[in-house]
């Protein structure tokens, strides 16, 4: 059974985590410097999340046309949870197909050090929205 009960809960947690992260000047600056759209596609529950090049967040489908490279990352909500809890071996998850990533390799890898300092915001936000912190 998924850690997440609904798409709304997923958006509340992941959307808030990214917004909190982008409030940090350093994270926002580094993300903007990548010049990319990041499109997360999450399953069980289903959901989509877009990170825009200007370091803003859009929950749900977005019908715009990216004018910069798009990095697409697809995974189950439980894998995302494990990742944000810092309990996921990313290369192994990629090898097993738990994470499917498309887009310029350099941009995909460059995202990870940007995300890393944002992980600390996740547990509190997840807990506040009723998501168990167990992995």
């Amino acid at each position: 059974m998924s850690k997440y009960e609904s798409t709304e809960q997923l958006y509340a947690v992941l959307g808030s985590t990214w917004r909190k992260a982008f409030e940090q000047e350093d994270i926002a600056r580094k993300f903007k410097s990548l010049g990319i759209y990041v499109h997360f596609i999450v399953h069980e529950p289903e959901g989509e999340l877009w990170l825009m090049p200007d370091a803003t967040v859009h929950e749900g489908a977005w019908d715009g046309t990216p004018d910069k490279p798009e990095v697409r990352m697809e995974m189950k909500a439980d894998i995302a949870h494990k990742f944000w809890m810092d309990k996921l071996n990313v290369p192994m998850a990629t090898a097993k197909g738990d994470i499917k990533a498309k887009g310029p390799v350099s941009k995909i890898f460059s995202l990870l050090p940007v995300i890393k300092p944002a992980k600390k915001y996740y547990p509190e936000i997840a807990k506040a929205n009723g998501v168990s912190l167990e992995v």
């Binding site: 290369p91 090898a95 498309k102 460059s110």
Partner: protein, 411 residues
């Protein structure tokens, strides 16, 4: 410079192409020509090698594969192709030396993404280096196992092949013994290694792993650099391991991750080779065109002779096809972290074969001058011929690709 068929090449792409072509023409080609006659043991310490590498590092060409988030150039796939092709147009040996130098730094990003300690040791100082005082190598090939390493771990017989370099588990890490063969690119000059080794001999090739190693570690020594027929600007040599301790933290791929790691590494390397030897094929074609215009035989320039025109067209066709397949594969394989190895191999085999065929035909156009050390074409031919063997003998690569195709049956 060739006629560019890609219609939407950006100004940035045009700029980098022109910049790298100039560097390859003015620095790499002349340096490679001189180093071609230098004894192998002296190449790595030769002022021309050192100076050309330093200039490549100053231009940041040593970080084209390293993601920008880790301080590298992180070029897009098309720009990566353009840079590799132009570097090899100047010199296959230098191009490989510059490209393979990035492997430990890139390997850390690929397989130890979250490992701050390894990124700090193997990636950050490397990308910040501007005087080529930090050089990396990819240590995989062994005296008893060259193309064996290219076997897919699930291929029949893989469990019976045990690599020479073996690691035994000890407290806090691994004790490594054995050797890597004379064909390790950059081994004589490298400081860091992206090292393939066996960590479970009972499983043969299925028991392999990958480590990042500081080559100044106790117990590591280098062997003599072998004299070789081509790519003589590329220092290659043996590395010996005698009770070398590698901390657990430096083992970036265990046996479970290894099938992914070897696929990713071979896909990146073979795709890069296809771009590099498109550049070598182009160099041979350019030399032939130049000479055919200059050289007068039978009362008119060679290029006015119909048979020469036919041969030039055949060469042109091969170069353009090589560029088409290598770019296409790079555009796919450098846009995903699960690349297609069979396509990478198809591109490597095609482009290296094409480079040999084009340089061979170029020598025919040159006639006697093509057999002389006075010309660049004889060096280009020898450089090209090496590539049908390095990074996997083409026939062995074909076996691996065939195995992958068989696995796709029914999909």
């Amino acid at each position: 410079m060739y006629f560019e068929l890609t219609p939407d090449l950006s100004e940035e792409h045009e700029h980098i192409k022109s910049m790298v072509h100039t560097f390859a023409r003015d620095v790499l080609r002349p340096a490679a020509k001189t180093l071609d006659a230098v004894p192998a043991d002296e190449v790595g310490g030769h002022p021309l090698y050192r100076d050309a590498m330093r200039q490549a590092y100053e231009l940041n060409l040593h970080t084209i594969l390293v993601p920008e988030g880790f301080g590298g150039m992180g070029l897009d796939p098309l720009a990566t192709h353009i840079v590799l092709e132009e570097l090899a147009w100047g010199s296959a040996g230098f191009a490989i030396s510059i490209a393979v130098s990035q492997f430990p730094a890139f390997g850390a990003c690929l397989l130890a993404t979250d490992n701050d300690e390894l990124i700090a040791e193997f990636t950050t100082p490397f990308v910040e280096n501007r005087d080529a005082s930090l050089i990396g190598c990819w240590a995989i090939t062994e005296p008893d196992h060259g193309s064996d390493w290219l076997m897919q771990p699930d291929m029949e017989g893989a469990e019976k092949i045990v690599p020479n370099l073996r690691a035994k588990k000890v407290d806090g890490g691994w004790l490594v013994n054995g050797q890597k063969a004379a064909w390790v690119s950059n081994a004589p000059v490298a400081h860091h290694a992206y090292l393939f080794l066996n960590i479970d001999s009972a499983q043969g090739l299925r028991g392999n792993g990958i480590a990042l190693v500081d080559l100044s570690s106790k117990g590591i020594s280098r062997g003599k650099a072998w004299e070789k027929m081509g790519q003589r600007a590329l220092p290659q040599g043996e590395i010996y391991f005698d009770d070398v301790f590698i901390p657990d933290n430096n083992l970036i791929s265990d046996t479970e991750l290894y099938p992914f790691a070897i696929d990713a590494t071979l896909s990146i390397a073979n795709t890069a080779m296809s771009a590099l030897f498109t550049g070598v094929a182009q160099a041979a074609f350019d030399e032939a065109m130049r000479y055919a215009r200059e050289r007068v035989q039978g009362g008119r320039p060679l290029i006015e002779h119909p048979t020469v025109q036919v041969n030039l067209f055949e060469m042109f066709k091969l170069v353009e096809t090589a560029r088409a397949i290598s770019r296409r594969v790079m555009l796919y394989n450098y846009q995903t972290i699960t690349p297609s190895l069979q396509h990478a191999i198809a591109a490597k085999v095609f482009c290296t074969d094409a480079a040999v065929q084009v340089s061979h035909m170029a020598i025919q156009i040159f006639g006697g001058m093509g057999l002389s050390k006075e010309s660049d074409i004889e060096m280009i031919f020898r450089d090209a011929r090496m590539a049908q063997v390095e990074d996997g003998v083409n026939e062995a690569l074909a076996l691996t690709a065939g195995h992958l195709l068989r696995s796709m049956e029914g999909e």
